[in-house]
Amino acid sequence: MNVRRFSILITLVLLAAACGPGGTTGATGTPQPSGGAAASTLVWYADTSDLISLDPAVAYEFTGVLLAHNAYETLVKFEGADLSTVKPALAQSWDIKDSGSTWDVTFKLRSGAKFASGNPITADDVVYSFQRVLKLNKSPAFLFTDIAQIKDTSIKATDPSTVVISLPKTASPQGFLAVLTFTIGSVVDSKEVKAKESGGDSGSTYLLDHSLGSGAYVIDHWTKNSEVLLKANSQYGGSPKPALSGVLVKHVPESTNQQFALEKGDADIARNLGAQQIAALQGKQGVVTTTGNSLQLVYVGMNVTVKPLDNVNVREALRTAIDYDGIVKDLFKGGAKKVQDIVPAGLAGYNESTPFQADVNKAKSLLQQAGQTAITLELLVPTGPAPGGVAWADLAAKLQSDWKNIGVTVNIKQTTQADLLGTYRAQKGQLVMILWGPDFPDPDANVGPFTDYAAKSIAFRNGWDDKTIAAKGRDAALITDTAKRAAAYKDITDYVLHNGPYAVLYQPTEPFGLRSNVKGFAWSPMDWTDFAAISK
C-alpha cells in the first residue's frame, strides 16, 4: 500500500469514528438571527460556566439570575443602584397591615399586564409562582421558607388582581419586600407552565432552558456551554421598553479573549475582565471601562474554637496587622473598596468606620497582652480569582506577609471553593478567606448570618456564639422606623468590628469593558443589569 492509500484509510477511519456519537448536539438549536441582527443585538461576553438553570425558582447563580431577571417581572423592584426604596413593578401598590398574629401584605396588580404569551397576568399566576417556589424547594427557596417564613397557605388571591400574603410576626415585612425584588419573586405564566409540566416537575424541566414570563426579554435559545440568546418581548408592559431587539450572551471563559473581542468590536460588553485586562484597555480607541458596585464582602473568618483565636486580642492583632490600603490600591488597583464592617456600602446600616491599617506595633502589643509570642495557623483559600480580579492565592500571600511582620506564621492551603465550604461549614477551618454576598438587599441579610450562631451560618462556622449581639441583630431586623433601625445597626456593627471573629478585607467592585457606542448600561449591586435600558 502506498502513502496515498494509507492516508485515505486514515481519513475513512476518522470519519467512521466521527459518526459514532452525536445526532443530538444543538438539540436546543433554534436558528439564530441572521442578516442585520448584529446591529440590533447586544453581544455580552462572559464566563457563564455557573449557568445551571434559567428557572427563577431554581436559579441561584450569577448568570442564571442575570438572565431570569431580564425574562421575568417581580411584584416590586429596586430601580438602578438605589437599594433603599422599593418601587412598583407588577404590583402597582401594596400595603402592610398588622393583623394581630400576622403581617398581612396586600398587593394590587398593574392592570392590563400580559405575559410574553399574551395571557393576562392574574393574582392566580402570583399564587402559583410562589407556591411553585415552595414546592420545588431549590437553592433560593430558603428566602421564602426561612427569611419570609411563608407557607403554601400564606399566599392567597382574594380577587383576580389582588394577592394577600401573611407573614408570621417573627419575619420582617421590609425584608420580605426586599426578597420579592429578587428573581425568586418572579411571576411565571401559570397556564403555560402547567401545560409544560411532566412527572410532577412543575415545569422545571422546560423552564431550565426556556422562559415563560413577562420580562423585557424572552429566552430564544440556550446552546449549552456556548450561548444564550434573548429576544425582546413585544408584550412587555414595564419600562424602559427594550432598546435592542436581542441580547446574545456568549460563553467566553478566558479574560484575555474577552479583552481582545472587545477591542476588535466583536463584543459590546465584557463581563469578566481582570485588573490586567482593565489596565490594558485604558486609552484604547472605541473602548471604555466602567465599574459596578457589588454587595459582596471578602473577609477572613477566624474560628474561635481554635486556640489562640479564642482570645479577642489575638483576633484584634490579626485585624490590625493587615495592610488594607495596600490590598485595595496596589493589589486590586481600584477593583475594591476599603470596607471593614460586616454591612457593605450601598445597604442601609453600612458603617463607614475603618479603624485598622497595618499598625505593626499595636498588633504586637495586642499579642503580648494575649500572652502569645509564636503563633502558627492555617489559612484556607479558594482557587481561582477573588472578586475584584486578583487571584485568591495572591491575596493570601499578601496576608501571609503582613502577618509575618507581627510574628504570626500562616500556612496557606488552597482548595476548590466547594471543598473549602465543606470544611468551613463543619466548623473545621482555622483561618478561612472567602466572600459573602447578602441574599436579599437588606442589612439583616448580613447582620443575621454574621452575628447569629443559631442561624448556622457565618457566626457558627467560626464558632462565635455571642447571644447578646445575636439578639440585638434579630431585634434590629424587625424595627420599622428607618432612623431607629440605622442606629441599631451602627451599634451592632461597631461591636462586631472589634469583637467579632472577622477581618473584613474589602468590598469588590465589578469592572466592565464596553464599546464606546454602548449607552445606558448600569450595573445593579443585585448583580444584574436591565438589558432593556442598553442601546448601541
Binding site: 500500500m1 502506498n2 502513502v3 494509507f6 484509510l9 486514515i10 477511519v13 476518522l14 470519519l15 469514528a17 466521527a18 459518526c19 456519537p21 452525536g22 445526532g23 443530538t24 448536539t25 444543538g26 438539540a27 436558528p31 439564530q32 438571527p33 441572521s34 442578516g35 441582527a37 448584529a38 443585538t41 453581544v43 460556566s49 445551571i52 438553570s53 441561584y60 424547594n137 431549590k138 437553592s139 427557596a141 426561612d146 431550565l208 446552546t223 449549552k224 456551554n225 456556548s226 456568549k250 467566553v252 471563559p253 478566558e254 484575555t256 479573549n257 481582545f260 473581542a261 477591542e263 476588535k264 466583536d266 466547594a418 471543598d419 465550604l421 465543606g422 461549614r425 441574599d439 451560618s457
Partner: protein, 337 residues
C-alpha cells in the same frame, strides 16, 4: 475471518476495560473526602433540601446498591443525572463530545499532514539545514506550554492580524448546520451550508494549531528517527542499486516501513489530544468535553465525572483499535501472524 476474530477479541477487551474503569472511578468518587451535596446546594441548604437531594441522587442508599443502580443504568444507556447541570449525563456528553472530537481530528490532521513530511524531510536531509529547522521546531513544540501558545496565536492571528476568529465554533450570527454528527465541518458539508462550513473551518484553525503543535512535534521526531533507521537498511541500498529514483526509494521503500512506529504514536497522540483539550478549549471558548470535565470535577459532580471517564475509557481502546487496523493493512506480516 481472521480479521473478524481479531476485531471480536478487541471489542471484548474494551468491555473488560470499561467494567474495570467504572468500578475504580466509582470507588474513588465515593472515597474522596468531599461532599457533593455541599457543593451542589451551596451556602443556604436547609435540612429538607439536603435530604431531598440525597434521595434524588440516591446518595442515601448503601454504596454497593448505588453501584448496582449505576451499572444497571449504564446498561440501559443511562449514565445518570448530572448534579451540576441537572440534565442527563448522556445528553451533556452528546452535546460536548462532538466539539472536542472535531477539534481533536483537526489537530490530528495537522499533526499528520505536517509531522510526517517534516520527519521525512528531516531524515532525508540529515545534518543539513532542513533537518536543523525541523528539529528545533519540534523541540519547541515539545516544550511550549499550550496555554501560552494559545494566547500567542489568538493575540497574533485574531487580535493583531485579524485573519482568524478569536473563539467559539462559529461566527456570532451564523446558525449551526443541522446536526447529524455534531461535527460542524461534516454537518455543514452534508447539508451544503457553505457559510457554516467556512465559518467552522476558520474557527478550527487556531485551536487546532494550538492543540496539534505538540503532536506534530512528536510525530515529526518519530518519523525522522524511524526513517533514518529504515534508510540504513540493506533493501534500501538494493533499491538504490537497482537504479530506482531516490523519490521512489524514499516514499515506496522507506516511508512505508518507517510509518509503522509512527502509526503507534498517532494512536497514542489521539488519546492525549482528547484529554489535553481542556486548556485549548478554555482559551478558545470551545464548548467541548474538556471544559465540561473540568467544571464537573470542580463542582464534585460525580455522575458527570464518571460519564466522562467512561467515555475516555472507550475512546482510548477505540483509537488503539484504529491503529491495529491500520497495522493490519500497512504491515502484511500481521495479517498472517
Amino acid at each position: 475471518m481472521r480479521f473478524l476474530g481479531f476485531l471480536l477479541r478487541r471489542v471484548v477487551g474494551i468491555a473488560a476495560v470499561m467494567i474495570g474503569v467504572s468500578v475504580i472511578t466509582f470507588a474513588i468518587s465515593h472515597l474522596i473526602p468531599a461532599d457533593p451535596v455541599a457543593a451542589a446546594l451551596g451556602d443556604h441548604a436547609t435540612e429538607s433540601q439536603i435530604a431531598q437531594f440525597r434521595a434524588e441522587y440516591r446518595l442515601d442508599r448503601p454504596l454497593p446498591e448505588q453501584y448496582v443502580i449505576y451499572v444497571t443504568g449504564i446498561l440501559h444507556g443511562d449514565l445518570g443525572k448530572s448534579i451540576r447541570t441537572r440534565r442527563s449525563v448522556a445528553q451533556d456528553l452528546a452535546d460536548s463530545f462532538p466539539a472536542t472530537l472535531e477539534l481533536s481530528f483537526a489537530a490530528l490532521a495537522i499533526a499528520i499532514l505536517v509531522g510526517i513530511p517534516a520527519g521525512v524531510w528531516s531524515a532525508v536531509f540529515r545534518g543539513r539545514l532542513p533537518d536543523h529547522v525541523v528539529r528545533v521546531a519540534s523541540l519547541v513544540g515539545g516544550s511550549i506550554p499550550v496555554f501560552w501558545l494559545g494566547l500567542i496565536l489568538i493575540g497574533l492571528g485574531y487580535y493583531q492580524l485579524g485573519w482568524f476568529p478569536g473563539g467559539g465554533r462559529l461566527d456570532l450570527f451564523v446558525a449551526p448546520p443541522p446536526s447529524r454528527t455534531g461535527l460542524y465541518v461534516i454537518d455543514s458539508v452534508l447539508s451544503g451550508d457553505l457559510e457554516a462550513l467556512r465559518s467552522s473551518l476558520a474557527h478550527l484553525v487556531l485551536p487546532a494549531l494550538t492543540l496539534g503543535y505538540f503532536s506534530t512535534a512528536v510525530i515529526a521526531r518519530m518519523t525522522r528517527s524511524s526513517m533514518l533507521e529504515v534508510l540504513g537498511q540493506d533493501y534500501i541500498r538494493t533499491a538504490r542499486a537497482k537504479g530506482l529514483h531516490e523519490r521512489l526509494v524514499v516514499s515506496r521503500h522507506g516511508l512505508r516501513n518507517a510509518l509503522i512506529p509512527t502509526v503507534t504514536i498517532i494512536g497514542l497522540t489521539f488519546g492525549s489530544l482528547l484529554s489535553g483539550a481542556v486548556l485549548t478549549e478554555t482559551i478558545f471558548s470551545w464548548p467541548g468535553l474538556g471544559r465540561y470535565a473540568t467544571a464537573s470535577a470542580v463542582s464534585l459532580d460525580f455522575p458527570a465525572v464518571l460519564g466522562v471517564t467512561l467515555l475516555a475509557a472507550v475512546v482510548y481502546p477505540v483509537a488503539n483499535l484504529a491503529v491495529d487496523i491500520a497495522y493490519y493493512w500497512l504491515d502484511p506480516r500481521t495479517q498472517h501472524g
